[in-house]
Symmetry: C2
């Protein structure tokens, strides 16, 4: 590949994720971070220490003709306005997730993208998580038959971090924070219509936004995906649990420890009842070492988030199709609105009409 | 305690559970198994080998004046009729679970119990499971603060055993088979009203009855209990997972391996973000060895199912109050009807009106 002329980036919102992006972009020869804009003096000082230009306000970013790309890493309630202004000033936009407060805001962003011809892309970085890609590989390669149910749990014990993520008006809460990742990935895992959405919220120490949620998607084929985030879970359940027609898999943590157990034969010797607790069970009798199942290691996948930035660069230059598509992001936002509705009404909510419906 | 005159028992239905009861009763000096009744010749032969009398039909059991107690361990659809006849013939009844096909049948049984003055008791043997008692102890002693959520999973991989449990007409399916235990115990765990019931069924290889289910109960206080049974789970998730306001606990299996993690202080040092997959997370950052949490062993509880039989004996002699109360059993059956309704309608179903409702 020939050397690529770097694109100049200004980062708006220089908190945890803004800094994380700067670290990544610094590793890439084809992006150059010129400066940052942050409303907090502490973050301005931090930027100066790193020899980054500090813009006095957003207008200064928009007016800087050097800037090709505005990277938005501010609280969620400000994404839409900054994105729209940036595109109208001829900037491409990389935006943190959740893209906006709701689907209507995303539709507005997509309208402006159409009008201006700029590239707008959301950092759905967790599509590059190895644990997710490992489960997707199990599913795609049918290692345990047809995968019909997945469970993904994000269990922490520190509550919601003490920032805007605790506030409803700024788009806080775990469903918006983590839900956008988990749902996004499950829609890629099972490329079919989602017919039903069921969600419940936890409000353990936060009455304003959910500090945990449990979300079940039912797909048209009957496949199901369960997603859970908990912030007061002092013991974590496994990160992934997967059921296929010919086996099951577990991935315990981001360290990729776990196992895949595959059914090796249709021959099914009758179970001997076992003593379990104060009773007998035949149904739950374990398999003995009879060759009917086999343990396999969790598949490993090489993945780099640099593919995201590379794809953005190439898309801006018209040489590639964007990986994180805005239609996909919009669909997730629409689905999350149904999840909020479900949590409020305590009912399962219909989402997409089945393709095969009359 | 002075020697107790044995009660004479006839076992109707000499399958797995019938045989299991005979084994237990043989260990107890205060019950004597006289004989069995089974419609299968194979089971009659088995009984003869064990020197048990074989009754030619149910009427012969009912007519045997020696018999004090009829123990019913037949398929579920026959419990009601046998129980009613037995009580009307002056027999006490120990009945396998699920007690009957539905709440109406249980109401009829209770009516006959009232009329005849006999003792009718259901073998809710899994109240004596150590894993359940361990979780109950955690809850009662507030080891991890106030327990507000429990999860209990029964994961096997052999499908439903190839017998009447596969047939709807005989009361098959996992919700009736295991659900009665799991719900019964959760109603004892949280002694308050159940406001909402949500249940989904799996029909992986059986269209007629559920070969797995997921059931969530919401209590008036907002506490929740999740119960799951799966029969095609080649890797098992932990048997118990428990969340309290000051900690969490996991019990992996009937071997009682697991751990209890308790929050030791309200001091909460701010989390350092960690790299997890392709991103950063502060919310899910683990706790470092900073003394804020402490791991404790899973509490052990001495329990013996003999307490059940002993209590039945003492209750029949008017010296004790029955532990497994018919009102409790009826409530479980009513709740299960709501679970069936929830699974059919894909909706959360209301169960009991809150005590504190206006």
């Amino acid at each position: 590949m020939t050397a690529r002329t770097p694109l100049t980036v200004a980062v708006v919102g220089f908190g945890g994720m803004g800094g994380h992006h700067v670290d990544h972009l610094d590793e890439l020869s084809y992006f150059e971070v010129k400066g940052i804009r942050d409303i907090r003096e502490s973050q301005e000082l931090l930027a100066k220490k790193k020899d980054l230009h500090v813009y006095p306000d957003l207008q200064a970013v928009l007016d800087d003709r050097d800037v090709d790309v505005v990277l938005i890493a501010t609280p969620n309630d400000s994404h839409r306005d900054i994105a729209v202004q940036a595109m109208r000033h001829g900037k491409h936009v990389i935006c943190e997730k959740p893209v906006a407060m709701n689907a209507a805001e995303m539709e507005e962003i997509m309208q402006v993208e159409q009008e201006t011809g700029q590239v707008f892309v959301v950092n759905q970085n967790r599509r590059w998580d190895e644990d997710y890609l490992s489960v997707k590989k199990l599913r795609d390669e049918e290692t345990i038959g047809e995968v019909f149910h997945t469970e993904c749990r994000i269990h922490g014990s520190r509550g919601i971090p003490g920032d805007w993520r605790q506030k409803k008006a700024q788009g806080g809460g775990m469903l918006l924070d983590w839900g956008v990742h988990l749902v996004d990935r499950q829609l890629l895992m099972f490329p079919e219509r989602v017919t039903d959405v069921n969600c419940t919220f936890q409000h353990i120490r936060n009455a304003e936004v959910d500090d945990g949620f449990r979300l079940t998607l039912t797909f048209e084929s009957g496949k199901t995906s369960y997603m859970e985030v908990g912030t007061f879970n002092y013991v974590a359940l496994p990160l992934w649990y997967v059921n296929g027609t010919k086996g099951s898999a577990v991935i315990h943590s981001w360290d990729m420890d776990g196992k895949v157990t595959r059914l090796e034969t249709d021959r099914e010797p009758d179970a001997r009842p076992i003593k379990a607790g104060a009773g007998l069970t035949k149904t739950m009798a374990p398999r003995f070492d009879d060759g009917t199942v086999k343990d396999l290691p969790v598949p490993r996948v090489d993945a780099s988030i640099h593919e995201f930035y590379d794809n953005v660069y190439e898309t801006i230059h018209g040489r590639s199709e964007i990986i994180v598509k805005n239609d996909e992001v919009l669909r997730v936002m629409r689905l999350l609105e149904k999840a909020f509705e479900s949590a409020e009404t305590l009912q399962t909510v219909k989402f997409e009409a089945p393709v095969n419906a009359i």
